[in-house]
């Protein structure tokens, strides 16, 4: 879960990391008031997506009138699909150097890692590899001040700034562990009047650890449809196409999308119904998919623990209970435990059932009128294709 900048800054302040003075504002009037108290400010859109500066989500205002106007422009604006609901007004800084600092994990070394560069800011990803220092952190001991100090000297900071850097990094590391963060990123860590402060902050908390952080505010990037399916405990991502897809397991779901796209189909979503045995959420998720009126639906289940007859019954039930489902072509690929029973149930309800993933993918693309098969279907000769 990503925290908004103002929340991450709150965590930093609690941890003893210096931050500029700032205030969260939900109306243009509040922004004007903030500017009266803070002086010239940067008015920053509070969104969970990156690149807001380039997208016009940050404006500098020297007067309360200008702050009010900036907030009026930014509040409610659409930033990469997300509506801006609040702005963070922060004292304008005169920055002499932008440093990059982050704490994250190294999957290969299986331990945390500190990343730093003397050339932070918006162009950090273009900084050459040799100008970026990565320092592994031993899990058992954590980041010790000397480690961060060494890194600071290696990126060229003088003795005083290096001490400040080391102090900030060790404080951030404690927050990183305490909050089960997968990323704490300060870009830039700004040098202002010879001292360092965190001018921006990004903090992502590990979703798998949320259970032990009930006190954290909840943020959500999901679209309404995504939120609805995820509430069932299933992994779901909306895509641009119009063929709905459901499979069990992330890998096979991805492979199903790949195979469908290979035949020219456009997937509407990624829905991983999980490898477990519960057919209840599967049926509910299928019902939600159908209710969005896709051109066709492809269900791809490899039954291991999941029994094919249970899945078939759940699918038939959705078809019967949902008026919309009758008009949406449904293709099911079903193999594994109790496969024959499952196929019999589906065929009895007039639903296409396949054993081969290839045939199922070709069929659903044809039914949706997409790809090569779709073009042929439009000419009315699908049957010849299906025989193969």
């Amino acid at each position: 879960m990503k925290l908004y900048e103002y929340m991450a800054k709150g965590v930093l302040a609690e941890s003893g990391v210096p931050i500029p003075r700032g205030r969260l504002c939900r109306t243009p009037e509040e922004a004007a008031a903030a500017c009266r108290d803070l002086g010239p400010v940067a008015v920053k859109a509070q969104v969970l997506v990156g690149g807001r500066g380039k997208a016009g989500g940050i404006k500098v205002a020297d007067t309360p009138q200008a702050a009010e106007a900036a907030a009026r422009q930014i509040l409610g604006m659409d930033l990469k699909g997300y509506t801006v609901g609040s702005v963070y007004c922060e004292q304008k800084l005169s920055i002499s150097q932008e440093i990059y600092l982050s704490l994250t994990f190294d999957p290969s070394a299986k331990r945390p890692m500190l990343i730093a560069s003397a050339s932070g800011g918006m162009a950090i990803e273009e900084v050459p590899e040799k100008a970026i220092i990565k320092r592994g952190i031993p899990v058992a001991w954590g980041l010790q001040p000397y480690m961060a100090y060494q890194v600071a000297r290696r990126i060229g900071l003088g003795a005083t700034l290096a001490r400040e850097f080391s102090d900030i990094a060790t404080k951030l590391y404690r927050a990183f562990v305490r909050l089960d963060a997968e990323l704490v990123e300060i870009n830039p860590l700004a040098v202002v009047d010879g001292h360092i402060m965190a001018a921006d902050a990004r903090l992502n908390v590990d979703d798998d650890a949320m259970a032990r952080h009930g006190d954290l505010p909840k943020t959500d990037e999901a679209t309404p449809l995504e939120a609805k399916v995820r509430a069932l405990g299933l992994a779901f991502v909306q895509l641009d196409g119009d063929i709905a897809v459901m499979a069990n397991g992330a890998g096979i779901t991805m492979a199903t999308l790949d195979v469908m796209q290979h035949y020219g189909g456009k997937p509407m979503n990624f829905l991983d119904a999980g490898g477990g045995s519960a057919t209840g959420p599967t049926a509910e998720a299928l019902a939600i998919l159908v209710s969005t009126r896709p051109k066709a639906v492809l269900v791809n289940i490899f039954g291991g623990i999941t029994r094919c007859d249970d899945v078939a019954r759940a699918i038939v039930q959705v078809r019967q209970n949902q008026p919309a489902a009758k008009d949406v072509p449904l293709v099911v690929r079903l193999v594994g435990t109790n496969e024959a029973e499952g196929h019999a149930i589906l065929r009895g309800a007039g639903i296409d059932a396949f054993r081969s993933m290839q045939q199922a993918a070709e069929r659903v693309v044809a039914l949706a009128g997409e790809g090569l098969a779709g073009a042929e279907a439009a000419r009315g000769d699908t049957e010849g294709d299906l025989a193969g």
């Binding site: 994990f105 499979a247 890998g251 991805m254 492979a255 291991g304």
Partner: protein
């Protein structure tokens, strides 16, 4: 022969009395795995499918000489259970638990490295050595057959799909191992490739990867020096670019992690990359003939 798990493997199941633990304990017994004990604190004296349950892993090791563990406890409790297994001297711990917090996974791996324990997972389906009738984990029993193919994968059901297609084509397996889908995992591709390279029974290796992370690119470097053919399949060709994790993600991956990057790295390493799932079995067959 197998490269992980054999006839002498004696398995203890933690979380044995739970819904998943008890079901899969029975399935493992049915496959032929020597499951010698279960562990659930407070349930000592009970039995699951005729297997005795104890309060601690230590007791299971003392009484039954357990030398492998499979962990079914919920994700936030997994760290404690895995560390208990490591501390009890169990050399192989398979972590089925999903949603294990990232920091917990790092702690588990640090402790395992200190004690020389092999960790498989978390969030894995486990492993299977068909000729030794040794399955430690949750895959369906019916998909396996003994033979010359070594399989290592990240994803579970995609492994079942591809292993099933190998078995259907008469291509049996020496050992099938899932590394798990989490970002910090115990055993990795290279660890398994090394074992398959050394194993006299394994003639061909199938590597099943997916987009994200750099594990496939790192594996490709090792494959360059391997004498055995490697067939790869990668899921995620059509996936939109993932939600990025700050600039740090880009700094670490540096252009790697994408489908194209993985295909070109593996191809340059000498692996054959199947474009579609059903191309894997024919490619394996071709490699065996060569």
């Amino acid at each position: 022969m197998s490269v992980l798990g054999d006839e002498k493997t004696r398995v203890v199941v933690t979380g044995a009395t739970g819904r998943q633990g008890s079901f899969h304990l029975g399935q493992m017994l049915e496959f032929g795995t020597r499951v010698v004990a279960g562990v659930t604190p407070g349930r000592q004296g009970q039995e699951v499918s005729g297997v005795p349950v104890y309060d601690t892993v230590e007791t299971a090791v003392e009484k039954h000489g357990a030398n492998a563990a499979v962990v079914f406890v919920p994700g936030t409790l997994a760290k404690d259970s895995v560390m208990e297994c490591i501390d009890a001297g169990v050399p192989l711990v398979v972590v089925i638990s999903e949603h294990v917090p990232l920091h917990d996974a790092m702690v588990i791996n640090a402790f395992a490295a200190e004690r020389g324990t092999t960790i498989v997972g978390p969030n894995t389906y486990g492993l299977c050595a068909p000729s030794a009738r040794c399955k430690i984990g949750i895959p369906p029993n019916s998909i396996f057959q003994s033979g010359p193919v070594g399989v290592v994968a990240r994803s579970g059901t995609l492994s079942y799909e591809l292993v099933g297609s190998l078995t259907d084509a008469g291509l049996g397996q020496t050992t099938v191992v899932g590394m798990g889908g989490d970002r910090v995992a115990g055993l990795n591709f290279i660890d398994m490739l090394k074992r398959f390279e050394r194993d006299p029974e394994t003639e061909v290796v199938v590597l099943i990867g997916e987009i994200g992370g750099t594990a496939e690119e790192e594996a490709a470097e090792y494959i360059k020096g391997m004498s055995k053919p490697v067939i790869a399949y990668l899921a995620g060709k059509s996936a939109p670019p993932g939600k990025r994790m700050g600039h740090a993600g880009a700094i670490i991956e540096r252009g790697r992690g994408t489908f194209e990057s993985k295909v070109s790295a593996l191809t340059a390493g000498g692996a054959k990359v199947a474009q579609l799932p059903w191309e894997v079995a024919p490619l394996v067959k071709g490699a065996l003939k060569a």
